[in-house]
Subunit: 420 residues, 2 copies
């Protein structure tokens, strides 16, 4: 019989009992703490611990959950995550009375999600961004370099990535101010002013678990155990700033003004039924990277834009996490192969996830093909890049039999540039 909670959750709702994503929330006027989303509610985890309903023989769950970040829980490792998840599913099960039948406990343990403020779920020590969609890398190479040699020579051999900025990772709902910076239009001298080519990048990110000591790489067959869970990521990009600054050290200011994450981290275990095979990798990667054939997930992804004059969001992109070439485990193993240490709560993102069809491209740059194919919007306007007032809404879900594992939203609205 299908797993079901006493909390009512419609079949198309993102947060059924099969999901149970983790986040950090604060009730009005109270300190941030860890919770789990179930239906339209947040389950207050420190409250459960306090009531004696949530314990673990090997772990101090009170310290882990009565905290403004999930780092402590992430550090406890896979076995504890799994045990706690099982216990939460038991407590929330329609047949379990302990919460269901105790109105006083229930009213303290469950808060309406629309009444709380969400926060970035971990204190991100380091944020890394990869570039792992072949279609995206091919599109960019075709537009800016050589259509016949669109992929750079290293791309099929290593999950190319770079270090991003951790301080400017913001939670869904945080407005994003159009950045001001230096660009070089055409052959003239560089100029200073608001970014003209503001873009989103549709990505999935994962948060790391216990991590590894400096000098001790994580082999590929252990890498998945170090993944705590996944979230949606919008790696906002200032294309004109990027173009002028990125040679030879990579993107810097073009990406560090904001990165939006969805507030709920979906545990890897919830996604297990949705594993899919990645495409065969040819050439075969070097042995340290060769493996993880089932390392991708069938997660539908959508990006919608709602302009300030529009009545509803308009979907501009439909993609899927399975379109990635390199898996999360391959990214993680590559990241640590030199000995680089990961810490609990680090964020590693996929890079823009573009599928094979033009409507599945994960950025405005690709969707409007460098401005040559403007996107028509329902209010009669068109978009080459993002306009002030545009709200960019990313959603994602894995469709199960009669339930959905949803990611909620990664949303951000573009504010006009500051006056200069």
């Amino acid at each position: 019989m299908a797993l079901k909670s006493f909390i009512n959750v419609p079949a198309d709702h993102p947060f059924p009992i099969q999901n149970l994503p983790y986040g950090v929330f604060s009730p009005k006027g109270q300190a941030p703490r860890c919770g789990v989303a179930i239906g339209d509610f947040v389950l207050d985890l420190p409250m459960l611990v306090h009531a004696g309903l949530l314990t673990h023989r090997d772990a101090d769950l009170r310290t882990a959950f009565d905290s403004p970040s999930l780092n402590g829980f992430m550090a406890l490792g896979k076995q504890v995550w799994s045990d706690v998840r099982r216990r939460l599913q038991e407590l929330l099960n329609e047949h379990t009375g302990v919460l269901r039948d105790d109105p006083s406990l229930r009213s303290r343990a469950f808060l309406r999600r629309d009444s709380v403020t969400m926060h970035v779920p971990s204190q991100i020590g380091d944020y890394t961004d990869f570039y792992s969609s072949r279609q995206h890398a091919t599109n960019v190479g075709t537009m800016f370099r050589d259509p016949d040699n669109a992929l750079l020579p290293n791309w099929l051999h290593i999950p190319v990535g770079y270090h991003g900025r951790a301080s400017s990772v913001v939670v869904s709902g945080t407005p994003v101010r159009r950045p001001v910076g230096q660009t070089k239009p055409g052959e003239g001298p560089p100029v200073f002013g608001p970014c003209r080519l503001l873009d989103f990048e549709l990505e999935m990110g994962f948060f790391t678990g216990s991590g590894n000591p400096l000098g001790h790489p994580i082999p590929l067959d252990e890498a998945t155990d170090h993944i705590f869970g996944l979230a949606l990521v919008n790696d906002w990009s200032a294309r004109d700033i990027q173009k002028w600054e990125y040679v030879p050290l990579g993107p810097f200011l073009a990406k560090n003004f904001a990165t939006t994450v969805s507030p709920w981290i979906v545990p890897l275990e919830a996604l297990e039924p949705f594993r899919v095979e990645r495409e065969p990798q040819d050439p075969e990667p070097l042995p340290y990277l060769n493996g993880d054939p089932q390392g991708l997930y069938n997660i539908e992804l959508e990006v919608a834009i709602q302009g300030s004059g529009m009545k509803a969001p308009h979907v501009v992109c439909r993609s899927n996490m399975r379109h990635l070439y390199w898996t999360m485990a391959q990214q993680l193993t590559h990241h640590t192969v030199t000995g680089c240490n990961l810490r609990p709560g680090d964020l590693l993102a996929s890079g823009t996830i573009s599928g094979p069809e033009p409507e599945s491209y994960g950025s405005m740059l690709e969707l409007a093909w460098r401005g040559t194919k403007p996107i028509a919007m329902p209010d009669g306007s068109e978009r080459k890049f993002l306009q002030d007032g545009d709200s960019v809404i990313m959603t994602g879900w894995a469709q199960g039999e009669g339930y959905r594992i949803g990611f909620g939203e990664a949303e951000g609205t573009v504010l006009p540039a500051r006056q200069v």
Copy 2:
């Protein structure tokens, strides 16, 4: 009359009363806390607060100093740093009796530096590395691109930089294991194995103070107020890994296996007498970056290598911080111009500091000119890049009248690669 302490400090000692650098130390078996170096001693700051000798009307110095990092103190801002520094100089002055004449207090407040363990002085939220020496950028461009167009088009317009890895910043004395990774020798397929071209990069880094909120850039005329102090940085680099991975997103694994910092942060105020003019910038930078003509410091820098069979270190490089083209304030302002937020304790490093003379080049790559001019060592060996067992020792100092503002050391010894 010259400022002098009752603690005996010879004229060529790095840590006189004019310096008073901050660090984080732990006495054997005790928790890390904040201290100041004076001569061969560490002054225990929480102990001074506890004894009622160090207070501030606007700041909780107990919380700031009884901490395993300096972030709390850094967040208090320039006025508090300045007030505390003045108070410490008063307490340590040869004419002040309160510490000098109290043997019991003295024995608790001063610990021998060789008896304590030093730590990375701040919890580094983000580490950024610039590329601000014109000679270094020219050398690299000459070797790898075109001697006639060695500088890339953006270099004279923006302080080029990239995000580094914060987790792998280690304190002086931490051994550095030669990384293993993917490289592509010549025309053949990529291979996996120990880095063959391991290098150091001589840099200076600065730690940030109170920082700025996301979306609020720091203008150039306020930037210096946000600099807490300076330290030596060795940005270890795996040149062969870097060459294969860095296009188009910049250095990643080639730099993230270790970055060494010296344990003592020299306050900007201690360096004030050593300000020097930067060279004129032509073309003139855009207005937001145009200024800070006195933004460099006359700080002598040296790199020595001691191979495992050598009796003493051999100096391979003599450079100076004044050889930088872009100043710290310019780097900081550029970093925030898009709205990127800095947090207390972030580390921003200069990039390799190479001077005009070949013996002032700040990396093995340049000193041995891509392996074509091996460096002769006193034991008869030679170096193109670093060998296992090599200890790389960076030192720096500003020479005053009868005293030195020293930086101590940023040292790391190369361990052999792990077996693969």
